[in-house]
């Protein structure tokens, strides 16, 4: 099964990212041991120069991984016709034990790499690279994640079996299946509860965000609220928003909305949600460093910008949700 162009492309991205990350990890180790800004030694100067390379490579890896995330889901959707019982990406990903872990790892890489780039940009505004050590300690955490994602992806593709009868999204995301997994828990949440939860957490995020923007406090809380909102929003998508998109009360699949049949509507829904969450987490990540001397002048403004961007993305997400419900022919309430 490995001889499929999208799979070859995904493996290529994983291989390149792994090579880059292995090198970055090795560099991070050296840097953590020997970084000394006061020193004018040749090794230190070379290291300072190499940090530019690491930043550039990291940006590259993140963009490649973002592409790989989209490609992975897209490809899983298209390959569904190759497996008995599969009708969308869920069936393909369920073909063996490695499909969903790979997806989660890719999502995690997206968030962590975005965080790293936010940290990197902040670090560059200080004249003495105040966050370098933090940044490269974080690299050491990201390396195993990228390697694990690559290994999991390879295992998944090598073990794809055409004759395994896999499950369709209609069984995976159904309220009362026997083998209740996370998916069925999320879809069994009553639509009204899910919408109330979404509205409540949305209001909380907006409130905390406003406080953080005006009185410059509670940013950490905002990041936490953003993370909670992300989980609630995903639950709401499965429980109530997807049925509105499909105009079908029992079809809960969060992957089918990405299909061309629904005008790729899922991307309009997911992109602002992911961006909003990433910016919220980024704001929380920068918060502890606002007292650092060389950053004190620029960082608070940067944090406020992140909060504002995050709020704007969440507002777009909210509007998309409202529009979905408004224009849908499905009536769930009343």
């Amino acid at each position: 099964m490995i001889f499929q162009t999208p799979i070859l492309a995904l493996l290529l991205i994983s291989a390149l990212s792994s090579v880059v990350m292995l090198w970055a990890g090795w560099f991070a180790l050296r840097l953590l041991l020997r970084w000394d800004l006061a020193s004018g030694s040749r090794a230190q100067l070379e290291m300072e120069r190499a940090t530019d390379l690491v930043s550039t490579l990291f940006g590259f890896v993140m963009l490649a991984q973002l592409l790989s995330l989209l490609l992975y889901v897209f490809n899983a959707d298209r390959m569904a016709t190759l497996f008995v019982g599969a009708m969308c990406a869920v069936g393909t990903l369920n073909n063996n034990d490695w499909g969903f872990p790979t997806l989660y790892a890719k999502l995690a890489i997206f968030f962590v790499a975005t965080m790293w780039l936010i940290l990197d940009r902040a670090d560059r505004t200080g004249h003495d690279y105040p966050l370098t050590r933090v940044k490269f300690a974080l690299v050491l955490l990201i390396v195993p994640l990228v390697l694990a994602a690559g290994a999991s992806e390879l295992t998944y593709f090598l073990n794809l079996q055409a004759d395994v009868i896999t499950s369709c999204c209609s069984t995976e995301f159904t309220a009362d299946t026997e083998d209740a997994g996370l998916g069925s828990d999320m879809s069994s949440l009553a639509p009204a509860t899910a919408l109330w939860l979404l509205a409540a957490s949305g209001a909380a995020v907006a409130l905390i965000g406003a406080v953080s923007l005006i009185w410059k406090r509670g940013t950490m809380l905002f990041a936490a609220a953003g993370a909670v909102f992300f989980v609630v929003a995903l639950t709401a998508i499965i429980s109530v928003i997807s049925p509105y998109v499909y105009e079908h009360p029992t079809h809960h699949c969060p992957f089918c909305i990405l299909k061309p049949e629904y005008n790729y509507f899922g991307y309009v829904l997911y992109v602002p949600l992911f961006l909003g969450t990433a910016f919220a987490l980024g704001a929380g990540l920068l918060q502890p460093f606002r007292k650092v001397e060389s950053l004190a002048a620029t960082l608070p403004a940067r944090i406020r910008k992140q909060v504002a961007l995050s709020l704007a993305s969440f507002v777009v997400f909210g509007l998309v949700v409202l529009w979905t419900i408004w224009q849908s022919q499905l009536i769930l309430f009343g």
Partner: protein
């Protein structure tokens, strides 16, 4: 935000002017890059169009085909089985189908003889409707010249040709001879009430599995082929051929990546001087890297666009003349068909991933090396 956008605009502006100054060197790079994109894009578009074509063609075939097996080989199926199948709940229609192959020793081609499912053809004994490939293979002097064939029993049979299928259905009809049931049975010397296989239409697609299970109990000797089985097989076949082409092209991509890395690291004296001057007038490493990334981005964009557009023209206007033998297969009567243009986002994203990403990866380190060099060192 405004500041950032303005900075990017100036950088792009500067880079375009810089690219134009080294026209010869960059044109060479873009041409080679475009050829790589072109080869991969042609292979991908061609097999995607074939996959799409296969799907469209199969959409009209019955959901389930039942074949009789004897000692594991395909055998004629008795008509009595039709009723057994029709009795299963959920089956909409059951029809015995008559078709077979005929080797024409005159020109070494194989024809498909078939009795049309559709009664609207209303073929009389002695009449035939031909695919356009047969007239060509037999060198017909006019379109509806009668077809003479020698049956297996050694009898010469004449069919008057009522009409010829139009070119646009060539994929299905190139080697097809439609004749009446009576002619078919006498030509192949078949007893009455046997069929080649049975086509079963099923109303609800989700019931196919259950219906097959039930039918297996009634007809333990039969083989059941569902439409989705056939579709899967075609998908897999075309995917595999496409993947093979891509894997072969990987060597080309690798060679190109090495070429690009070489080109990016071997700065000409003029370029080195330019970077030196830029740094001397206050650009920092980040600016130079951004400028060089813009350069790579513009080159990639140009090459990707050119390669994809040329591949599109190659595949859909010229029937992929360059790769036809590898991707299509061959036969004495080969349908001459035009592909319906079909592209999706996955294809473009994949193409982007296997061409632009290796190029970018190969040039990042040379870019950084050029950008971090000391101004006095490069200018000296």
């Amino acid at each position: 935000m405004k500041h950032w956008l303005r900075r990017q605009r100036y950088l792009a502006d500067f880079t375009l002017a810089a690219l134009a100054r080294r026209r010869v060197k960059n044109t060479g790079l873009i041409v080679i890059y475009s050829i790589i994109v072109f080869v991969l894009a042609s292979a991908m578009m061609f097999s995607a169009a074939l996959r799409h074509e296969a799907g469209t063609v199969l959409a009209k075939s019955p959901e389930l085909i039942v074949q009789q097996l004897v000692m594991g080989r395909h055998e004629m199926i008795p008509g009595s089985e039709i009723e057994k199948l029709a009795g299963i709940r959920g089956v909409a229609a059951v029809k015995g189908r008559l078709w077979g192959y005929f080797y024409d020793s005159v020109n070494g081609a194989n024809y498909t003889f078939m009795v049309p499912d559709d009664d609207s053809y209303d073929l009389q004994p002695g009449e035939a409707i031909l695919g356009e490939g047969i007239g060509k293979a037999r060198d017909f002097t006019w379109d509806t010249a009668p077809l003479f064939v020698t049956s297996l029993a050694g009898k010469m049979v004449k069919f008057t040709v009522r009409e010829t299928f139009a070119d646009d259905s060539a994929l299905l009809t190139a080697d097809l001879v439609l004749i009446s049931e009576a002619d078919f049975r006498s030509f192949f010397d078949l007893p009455p009430d046997v069929y080649t296989d049975i086509g079963v239409s099923i109303r609800n697609e989700r019931e196919i599995g259950t219906i097959v299970q039930k039918a297996q109990l009634v007809m333990p000797n039969a083989r059941f082929v569902t439409r989705s089985d056939i579709e899967r097989t075609y998908q897999r076949l075309f995917d595999w051929r496409e993947g093979l082409m891509t894997a072969l092209a990987a060597a080309g991509v690798l060679a190109f990546a090495i070429f690009a890395a070489e080109k990016a690291s071997g700065l000409s004296a003029e370029e080195a001087r330019e970077i030196g001057i830029l740094k001397a007038i206050g650009w920092d490493t980040g600016d130079v890297i951004a400028m060089k990334l813009w350069e790579g981005g513009l080159i990639s964009f140009g090459a990707f666009l050119a390669g994809t557009v040329f591949a599109y023209i190659h595949v859909f206007s010229f029937q992929a003349g360059l790769f036809e033998p590898i991707l299509k297969g061959w036969a004495v009567i080969y349908p001459d068909f035009a592909l319906a243009p079909y592209i999706d986002g996955l294809q473009l994203a994949t193409l982007f991933a296997i061409t632009v990403i290796p190029y970018t990866a190969a040039t990042l380190v040379p870019i950084w090396r050029a950008a971090t060099a000391d101004p006095d060192q490069v200018m000296r």
